[in-house]
Amino acid sequence: MPEGVCIIGVGYEGFRPTITDVSTRELMFLAASKAYADASVDPRTDIDSFICCTEDFWEGWSITDEMVPDQVGGARRPVCTVPADGIIGMGHAVMHIRSGVADVVSVEAHSKVADVLDKRAVENLALDPVYHRQTGAGSDVLAGLEMSAFMRRSGVTRDDVSRIVKAEKARALSNGRASYGGTLELKEVSDAEPIAAPLLKYDKAEFAEAGTVVVFASERWAKKNKKDGVSVDGLAWRSSAPWFEGGDIMRPEYASEAFRSVMKQAGRRGADSFDLLEIDDTYSYKLLQHLSSVGVPKASAIKMVEEGRVNPSGGSLGTGHLIEATGSHRVLECALQLRGRAGGNQRGKPGTALALSWRGNPTATGAAIALSVGR
């Protein structure tokens, strides 16, 4: 039986389209300070390992690891960066704890993406240099292609995806962390300007900026130090084959396999066994595709989104896309919900939650985490 791991504190700062008053480092410091206060830990003595999820190209700084320690409390302590989505960084935290390397681990992820003047240039560098980059088709075009295939295969209609957008934007209005809430008519969504048809303007999450820190501890440590935690019942990440042209359109492996592994670890049966789900919706159709990957058919999926059981936060469409902090944001929303502290969009007293992330185009990498309280 592997050692239990739990979340003992969360902290965040920002959640705006552009943060102009603090630097990246200051943003990280503010989020970390709040998380450590929430967990009642002193990072200088209580935290054994610090992880930061970041990608050098988004920072404009090579070997970003070197500039991380001071602002997360990790000066002259074990610090590493994981160039991946926040939930994958959390996977490293779980490994540090289970391997006995650490009892308490801090996982930071942030987006200061407005500092990147030409985001397309960074996105294009992620495309295959021999085959794709030369065509001039960017990551939104890849989404358009996939959306087209997914709609044809699944029977999802324009109206269906517009309902997703409408519901998430509306939900975001009651979430203080959401930058892109709004009241939209279905027609407005369906008639919006095309990006790469069938992908239209509102089908894509806009960028936002935020800092997030989640503190993990072994359950043994948490018990000994009398901290209430949110239990991590399962965590996994997977990549599908790296060829964009292939793969399962209805149930991409990175999502379905990460989910399957998490369910096995958590000893749970289906997505239906969770009180709430925060599922990747970088693009509107992606939410339906990811729900399909975890076994939720179209009809129930749309209903669950409209009821607010899926993405009560308003998702990325409502909150904004936070690059590598996107998965961390989903975990943050789940943890706040499970502790009854989600604010305006709190959903009763949920006991279990699932977060699922995707690293965005052109990747086929995703991660999932199952959380619970009061076991």
Binding site: S23, E26, D115, A121
Partner: protein, 169 residues
Amino acid sequence: MSSKIAKYPGTEVELDDLRSGRFLSSDYETLLRYSWTSGVAVSRFLDGLKSGEIWGKKCGKCGRVLVPPRAYCEEDFVPTDEWVRVRDTGTVNTFSISYVNNDASRRKEPIVVSVVDIDGASPGMGILHLLGEVEPKRVEVGMKVEAAWKPKGKRRGAITDIRYFRPRG
């Protein structure tokens, strides 16, 4: 080549072979542009430079004066509250006489790069900058220096508002 190797095996490739497409390759060029938010600490520091002043921040816990200023003390993990104006003079902590530019090209005339410990800041708080108005061979560790500022109208809130540090009086 070396005393043991007169010729490498294989086929030599000249630049023209690549240019003419004799060997296949994929080329790509890009331009990455960033505009980093300076934030609370750096903004005030840069603003100070514009006025010909060097500012630091003091940690209320350990009492260190951090230059350049930081919004937090990394040792105590607390916000730094108090702004402290330090002197624009200091001491050469270390220096290097550089004959290479940062693109690795050679320089005819060397530049003298130094870490200057600023007067009024805590030990180990220095600024990496150039030394000027001094013969490279006369520079030594421990030398007292002062900032040579750009004229007021030419300062724009950048570390280069200090042209260099030069020997004091």
